[in-house]
Symmetry: C3
């Protein structure tokens, strides 16, 4: 798998997929810049009046519920259903899953369309599984990695999604694979929206790469390594955001390969 990841990065640059984003207000600018930096073309659109047309012209869809309201929830549910019907891959970022009843019921409706990928932190993956899969036992609110892996497996089985549990180690799970990525830097958690940028970048990769688990691994590795290299010379979170975008755009095969810390379980 290691060898094909850089090839996937080049494919995204070459094919420049059109990625439709229904994402949150806080990170729209970051996400669009991250997509441009990896070579994709972002579209941001949420109007009920045009969602179906937008889905039909894009290669993939990104749904991020960070700042959802009733109107936007409908946009997301409609977009997911349309993507499912047209066989367009889509990634779901269940920001704040478990925090409110509204988030959980919206997520349940989006899950009906079987996301190609779900990317969230351990708490979110646990909350998602707990709310949607009856077999899951009650879990502590402090999310444990092992419990999150169980939850991810359940979600994979039920919805056929590749699950990415993001954290110090990113864990990517499909029906028959489990991959651990140990790249990144703690300073990245001090910049808003780097996780959401990762989700957007996953959106670009699943729009181009056939093997969806490889697409997710390539996207997450690219994001984490770019952040890790940027953090080496960043003074703080301000310079990290700037240098992250530079590195996402300029990263070389050597830099990528030398930093990659991948473990296939």
């Amino acid at each position: 798998m290691e060898k094909s990841l850089w090839h996937h990065i080049l494919q995204v640059r070459k094919k420049s997929p059109l990625v439709h984003n229904i994402t949150n207000f806080v990170v729209m600018n970051n996400s669009a810049n991250a997509l441009l930096a990896v070579g994709a073309s972002p579209i941001m659109s949420h109007a009920h009046s045009e969602i179906n047309e937008m889905i039909s012209i894009c290669q993939s869809l990104v749904i991020n519920i960070g700042t959802l309201d009733e109107y936007w929830a409908q946009s997301m549910i409609q977009a997911a259903a349309q993507a499912h019907q047209l066989n367009k891959p889509f990634v779901l970022d269940p920001v704040g899953a478990g925090a409110t009843h509204f988030r959980d019921t919206t997520l349940t409706q989006i899950l009906h369309s079987c996301p190609t990928v779900i990317r969230g932190n351990a708490s979110e993956i646990l909350a998602l599984a707990k709310h949607n899969i009856s077999k899951i036992k009650g879990v502590d609110s402090t999310a444990q990695s092992n419990e999150a892996i169980e939850a991810a497996r359940s979600l994979t089985q039920q919805f056929g999604s590749v699950i990415c549990i993001s954290g110090e180690t990113d864990i990517i799970i499909s029906e028959n694979k489990e991959i651990h990525l140990k790249n990144g830097n703690a300073l990245m958690t001090k910049v808003t929206g780097l996780g959401c940028s990762a989700t957007a970048i996953i959106g670009a990769f699943i729009g181009v790469i056939e093997d969806k688990i490889e697409a997710v691994v390539a996207a997450m590795a690219l994001t984490s390594i770019a952040g890790e290299i940027a953090a080496k010379t960043a003074v703080g979170p301000g310079t990290l955001q700037v240098q992250f975008l530079d590195k996402l755009y300029m990263i070389t095969a050597d830099e990528f390969t030398q930093h990659l810390q991948l473990e296939i379980i």
Copy 2:
């Protein structure tokens, strides 16, 4: 008071308050980054369907009416009422007070919930007092600092709020105190949302610090000093924004203490 300010900054870093923001589209990204940089955890959420639950899990609330519309106005009024009922501290940034009838009537409804802190420029504080307190005499549209101080005193008496009049000198007023802060740099006015970031940071401090006037002074001093230091090496407003976030995150006790220009009236 000088001695306790740095202690308050450390407290925010240590306790990492969860701060709920209903703020404007322009500054959501800055505000979230500013909150992360001082050690707080931002939540941005405005859906009527989840506001009450969100308020209940957060330590404090930030309301900024910059880009309000009818839906968001209701979100803000509802959130303020809920915060008031649950005794959660909240800060109001009355952006553009006095500019339109809609802003003024929305602000009146938010004021019913007695904001813990109100932070605005002299014009906004004057407009707020003029519209809501009958005793205030008519004031010129060109806001004078002295008139604004009178207006701030009236608002403090009526609503019990700590008032922060931001400007070249920031003036912070409670029922029995008046404090002047002379930090900052003129270039900060050329970066959108640094004032709104200051409001968000106040939100973090009132979520952790019991003495609300000290919380406001610490938050404003931290913001202004970080901007002042960043401006020394900034080329223009682009680099200022970046270096401001870096400094907010990295500032030391020595830097803070050596720059602080505080006057207790």
Copy 3:
């Protein structure tokens, strides 16, 4: 014309026009920062309840349909009509024209108010003309510059607007003039919202400069030259955005004049 352009830039700095923006979520922060950097004062507001009042206090209006929905479409149509009635200049950025039926019908209604300026890429200008002017022949979806020039001429004739076709060469067209600008740098296309920032800056210039085609040329030249100079030392798109804002704020008469590549056809 070359000689008056720098004078126009100084006029904007001196008069600091209040510019009302109804723009898209992705670029609100960039646009506000770009307006501040050139010396203007940005207002962002879209509530139906206050649009008419806002228009009346501003010198000009910017409409950008990037992330429109039904509510925002109404805001834009109402604002355009009000600006037209009060003789306030306004600029339209028809982002994604031709992509969906909803965009096209919204644009048709905005066009009724005869925008002072329309700025878009070749595809958008073609789509706008095709949808609104029956005389235009069917055009290929891959936009050709020459066809776009024909489309721009038709739009100018029908609506009296100055048209700016942005691209590697920016082409600015009025009823009796055609001007080509060859500044800029390809890296600028890798930063989201630089085109939208150009539109916002046009908004500032038409609020102050009487001769509208000169206002557009000055705004576009300033934007492109600032980007071109910033790109010389930028590492990638992250540093480009930062240095672009610095340069927009700090550019000198010499830098501007030495870089200007203007051709009057």
